[in-house]
C-alpha cells in the first residue's frame, strides 16, 4: 500500500478564518509576476482545474489572452459549488478568502481584466458576507486596480456550469447555452471570459508565491500538488481533507475517521461521478492515471462511501430523480429524456417495471449522451450507468422483489430542496 500524504497547503486542519492581517503575516504580500512569467509558472506546475473538468489552467488562461486582442476581459471565481455532496470550496473560502482573492487578482492581471466577479449560490449567505468583508478589507489596504464584486446565482445544479455563470453575470437567467462560442471566446457581455473554480485560484496564489517546483514537490508526476476532497457517507468524521494526489482511498477514508461499517461501493466525483465497488479502488491513488483504467475521476473532489448495510439502488434512485428535476428545461433529450429515465429506474427499484425495462434504460442512456447544450444529461446517465454496473445484482433483486432489506434506511446522499427560480 502506498502511504499517501496529508498535506495542508490550502486548508490546515482546524484552521480559523483568516483576515487580511493574518493572511499577510502568513503569506506575505502578493507577488506581481508579469503575465508571461505567471503563465510559464502555471504551465510548469501542471495545475489543472478543480471544478471537475481537470483542464490545464495555463492553457485555459492563454485561450482568454489569445482571444482578447487588446479588448477588455472578465474573470469569474466560481464558488457556486452546486454539487450537493461537496463542501470543499466553501471550506476553503471560509478559512482563506484572501488566498482565493489573490488568485483572482492574479487571473485578472494575467488576462487583462478590469472586472472580476465572485460567483456563488444564493443560499450560501454566510460565505457571501465573508467574501464581502474580505473585499472591503482589501480595498482599504491593497493597490490592486481590479474591481471585485460578489454575485449570487440560483441554487441549481446546472447554474454552476460555465456558460450558465456567464449568462447570470451578463444579467440573464443562469441557464447553460450552446457552445461554441465558449466563454474564452465570447463570454460576459461578449468579452473573452475566464471562469475558474476557487480551489484552483487558491493553488494559483501559492504557485505565484512558491513556484512550480514547490507545487510539484508532492503528488505524482502527471497529477502534481494537493487536492481538497469532501469525504462523506459511511465515514466516522465526514469532512474536507487535503491530500497529495498519491493518497489512496484507504488512507483518505482513514483520515475521515475510518468507515462506519464494511464499505460496499464508493461514489467518486459526486452526483456527476460514478459508483465503483470499494474493493476496486481501495488501494488506488486518487490521481487521474491511477483511476483512468477504471473509468472514474475525482473531478470536483467528492468521495462518498456506501456501507454494505445501505442500498445503492435507493440512493441512486433519489439522486437520479434530483438530477432529472435539475434540468434547465431547454433541451429535449435532457428535460424530457432524463425524467423518463429516472421514472423507469424508479419503477425498477420498486419492482414495478416490465422485464424489458433494463434494456430500454441502457438504450435511453446511450441515446441522450452528448445531446444537451451542456453536459447535464451526460453526467446524469453516466451516474446511472455506473450504478447499473456496480449494483447489477441488487438491481435485479429490486426488479423482482421491489426492494431489499436496506432500502428503507435513511438517505446517505443528501438531496437539496428544489429551488425554483433561475436568478
Amino acid at each position: 500500500m502506498r502511504a499517501g500524504t496529508l498535506v495542508a497547503r490550502l486548508v490546515p486542519e482546524g484552521a480559523a478564518p483568516e483576515n487580511l492581517e493574518d493572511h499577510l503575516e502568513r503569506f506575505g504580500p502578493r507577488p506581481r509576476p508579469r503575465s508571461s512569467e505567471l503563465l510559464a509558472a502555471l504551465d510548469a506546475s501542471g495545475l489543472r482545474g478543480r471544478g471537475g473538468a481537470e483542464f490545464p489552467t495555463a492553457t485555459k488562461w492563454r485561450a482568454v489572452v489569445d482571444h482578447a486582442q487588446g479588448r477588455d476581459t472578465v474573470v469569474v471565481a466560481n464558488a457556486a459549488e452546486c454539487e450537493p455532496a461537496s463542501f470543499k470550496d466553501r471550506t476553503l473560502v471560509g478559512v482563506r478568502p484572501h488566498l482565493v482573492l489573490d488568485g483572482l487578482e492574479h487571473a485578472a492581471e494575467t488576462v487583462g481584466a478590469r472586472r472580476a466577479v465572485v460567483y456563488m449560490s444564493r443560499s450560501h449567505e454566510k460565505l457571501r458576507h465573508a467574501f464581502q468583508a474580505a473585499i472591503v478589507e482589501r480595498r482599504q489596504r491593497s493597490d490592486c486596480e481590479v474591481f471585485i464584486e460578489v454575485l449570487a446565482g440560483p441554487d441549481r445544479y446546472v447554474a454552476g456550469e460555465e456558460t450558465a455563470i456567464v449568462a447570470r453575470v451578463s444579467g440573464r437567467l443562469a441557464k447553460p447555452r450552446v457552445v461554441p462560442p465558449r466563454p474564452f471566446h465570447s463570454g460576459v457581455g461578449g468579452l473573452p471570459t475566464l471562469v475558474q473554480n476557487v480551489e484552483t485560484l487558491g493553488h494559483v496564489a501559492l504557485v505565484a508565491r512558491h513556484g512550480p517546483d514547490w507545487f510539484r514537490s508532492v503528488g505524482t508526476r502527471q497529477s502534481p500538488g494537493t487536492a481538497l476532497l469532501t469525504v462523506t457517507g459511511g465515514v466516522a468524521q465526514p469532512g474536507v481533507v487535503e491530500v497529495a494526489h498519491d493518497a489512496t482511498f484507504e488512507s483518505i477514508v482513514a483520515w475521515a475517521g475510518g468507515t462506519t461499517g464494511e464499505p460496499a461501493a464508493i461514489l467518486v466525483g459526486g452526483y456527476f461521478g460514478r459508483w465503483i465497488g470499494a474493493e476496486r479502488v481501495w488501494q488506488r491513488g486518487i490521481d487521474a492515471e491511477s483511476l483512468r483504467s477504471l473509468g472514474v475521476a475525482v473531478g470536483a473532489g467528492v468521495v462518498a462511501v456506501l456501507p454494505a448495510a445501505a442500498c445503492g439502488v435507493a440512493e441512486t434512485d433519489r439522486v437520479l430523480s434530483f438530477l432529472a428535476e435539475q434540468s434547465a428545461g431547454q433541451c429535449g433529450p435532457c428535460h424530457v429524456g432524463l425524467p423518463a429515465i429516472a421514472d423507469m429506474f424508479h419503477r425498477v427499484a420498486i419492482g414495478r417495471a416490465r422485464p424489458a425495462a433494463l434494456d430500454m434504460l441502457s438504450r435511453w442512456c446511450s441515446d441522450v449522451v452528448g445531446r444537451g447544450a451542456c453536459r447535464h444529461p451526460d453526467g446524469a446517465v453516466q451516474f446511472l450507468q455506473s450504478a447499473l454496473q456496480t449494483f447489477a445484482a441488487d438491481v435485479r433483486h429490486h426488479a423482482r422483489a421491489g426492494g431489499c432489506r436496506f432500502s428503507d434506511q435513511p438517505a446517505m446522499l443528501t438531496i437539496p430542496s428544489n429551488h425554483r427560480g433561475w436568478w
Binding site: 471537475g52 481537470e54 485561450a63 450552446v178 456527476f272 433541451c331 429535449g332 441515446d367 453536459r375
Partner: protein, 79 residues
C-alpha cells in the same frame, strides 16, 4: 469541404421534419427529438440535407463546414 449536420438542442422543439426529410442521417429518439449522425455528408446527400435545414420550423438544424462540431475537448467543459 466537409459538410456536417448539427442541431441546436435549445432551439429544437421536436417537430420531426428533419427525420422525415433525411432519414439517412437523422433518426428520432423515443421522445421525438432528432439524433444526428454528424459524420461528413456525401455529395449526393448534401442537397437533401440543405432541404432539411431549410424546412426546420425552428431553424435548429444547421449545416456546418469543417471539423466535427461534436468534439468537445476544449477549455472549460465543466469547470
Amino acid at each position: 469541404m466537409k459538410h456536417r449536420l448539427r442541431v441546436d438542442p435549445i432551439r429544437c422543439n421536436a417537430h420531426g421534419m428533419c427525420v422525415e426529410l433525411l432519414p439517412e442521417r437523422i433518426r428520432m429518439d423515443d421522445w421525438g427529438y432528432p439524433i444526428i449522425d454528424s459524420r461528413p455528408l456525401s455529395f449526393d446527400l448534401l442537397a437533401h440535407a440543405r432541404r432539411a435545414v431549410g424546412e426546420c420550423p425552428r431553424a435548429a438544424l444547421q449545416l456546418v463546414v469543417g471539423d466535427d462540431p461534436g468534439s468537445r475537448q476544449r477549455p472549460g467543459d465543466a469547470d
